[in-house]
């Protein structure tokens, strides 16, 4: 029946399934010359660092196109599977599509092969997507520079990776930030890690969340493409944690309290 009787497939590869169903990942627009003047929405600040129980991933909510603010409730931290999160910086159209493919890729593999994909496999899967997107990235219409955080249950520890837009992967042992606001806070992160009250990896969940909120607020102060929190409109950054229990987003009511205490001066 259907296509299965005459086919033996053991790869559990969702990319292959997509190919067979006629889907095409974006190919470079051959007739389009390189154009530096196209206004594409890509301003962002997303960051992630190791803390005591796992990895914290946070992002602001703003999407921009040039000087225009297009949207202020963008979710840039996206669940991929129960143990993985992707934080996106770059062109949202491409980034969201990548997240959707990646999510189906991990889950299809796990369900069909009856085992989770290895961390290395997961890391490479995103790298592969980015490599296939190089054409769009070079033409300036689809560059994405994501972070991937995942908890490896077999090894009992979390992993954090940063990617450049060509698909190179870098394992991060301490902290990372990407997006247009990231240069404003990378130094702060390093300073906090080396000379702060405690190294980042020894901080508690609450301390780590408070630091993430402050960093995003700092980035928003200096980068117009990074959105500030607006408590009066219940608009807060997105903060998620990955631990041995999988991912968990900070719920809105907890966020309101966390934001208030984090913003206290002194």
């Amino acid at each position: 029946m259907t296509t299965h009787s005459d086919r033996v497939r053991v790869s559990g590869d969702f990319f292959e399934l997509l190919d067979r169903s006629g889907y095409q990942w974006q190919s470079p627009l051959k007739s389009l010359p390189e154009n530096k003047f196209i206004e594409i929405s890509q301003g962002t600040t997303v960051l992630a660092f190791h803390y005591k129980e796992g990895v914290i991933v946070a992002g602001d909510r703003r999407a921009t196109a040039g000087n225009a603010i297009m949207y202020d409730r963008c979710d840039k931290v996206i669940p991929i599977d129960d143990y993985s999160l992707m934080a996106i910086a770059g062109v949202p159209a491409t980034a969201f599509e990548m997240a959707r493919i990646l999510s189906h890729n991990f889950e299809y593999y796990r369900r069909s092969q009856l085992q989770s994909m290895s961390t290395e496999g997961k890391v490479r899967a995103l790298s592969k997507l980015l490599k296939e997107n190089v054409g769009m990235a070079m033409q300036g219409v689809g560059a994405v520079s994501p972070l991937l955080a995942t908890y490896d249950s077999s090894q009992g520890k979390p992993f954090l990776y940063f990617y450049d837009m060509l698909g190179a992967e870098f394992r991060i042992l301490t902290h990372v930030a990407t997006g247009s606001g990231s240069p404003m806070i990378r130094g702060v992160l390093e300073h906090e890690n080396l000379w702060g009250a405690r190294p980042l990896e020894e901080r508690s969940e609450r301390e780590a969340s408070a630091l993430a909120i402050r960093l995003l607020q700092t980035a928003a102060q200096f980068d117009s493409a990074t959105g500030q929190a607006r408590p009066e409109d219940k608009l807060y950054p997105i903060i998620a944690r990955i631990t041995k229990n999988g991912y968990q987003f900070v719920p809105e009511d907890e966020m309101a309290d966390l934001y208030k205490t984090s913003m206290k001066k002194g």
Binding site: M1, H4, S5, F14, L17, R100, R111, S112
Partner: protein
Amino acid sequence: MFEEPFRWMEAISTRHSYVREKLQKARPVLSVPYDEGAVIFGFAPQSGKIFEIYDRIALGGLGHPADIERLRMTLLDMAHVEGFSRSAQDVTIARLLQFGIAPALKQNFEEVQRAPYLVQLLLAELNNEGVAEFYRLSYDGYWETFRKGTVIVGDRKVQEHIQKEIEKTDFASLKLNQALKKGLCLWEEGCKLDDSGEYKAGDESDSEEPDEAPSTLKDAFGQWTLEAAVLNKNTGRKRLYRALDTKEIDALKEVALK
């Protein structure tokens, strides 16, 4: 050989008997609601009874493992392509069965030159409102829907008996452990009935399950493995399916054997 209608009908009838005979000794797989969703479980000598199809869909199967596998892969492919190109909310068992595997199964069954599928499938789903729905799919493509839970067993009459018992019980108000305990009792009851010979039909010597298949919970826990999974609407995540781990199964074993 099959030009005459009678010959064709005879061939179909033989196929029915052949498949039923093959499935005759298969032990029950049950799925029932509980207060947070639905639970699906069955005993097996090796893993291969309970599977995850999509975020809110679980599958239970009995029969030939290779046939279950082919149908499982078809369901997985359909669900993931649909969930990717539209939305997870558009992936429903009703669509997967009605427009997907049921017509193909029926066609396969009636093409008498081809080997029939030796399977019975049970599908459970938490719909977009969080309500549990249950589906039973037969080897000939015939499918039925249930609200209060359902069961697949090799023996048709045992199946009817357990089904009636399921309908009588208000599983949806029970906690997970209570629902599982009650469900396991029905499993044992079904096996005993099966072995008592009361409902025996046909030759059982060539069945898919070994003859020494356990029929009491004590033997089943001792010789086979209990596979169980839940669809829990309160996880707060996209994926509602979760297989029970060894610790949970061991705890359940203690309660069930008391």
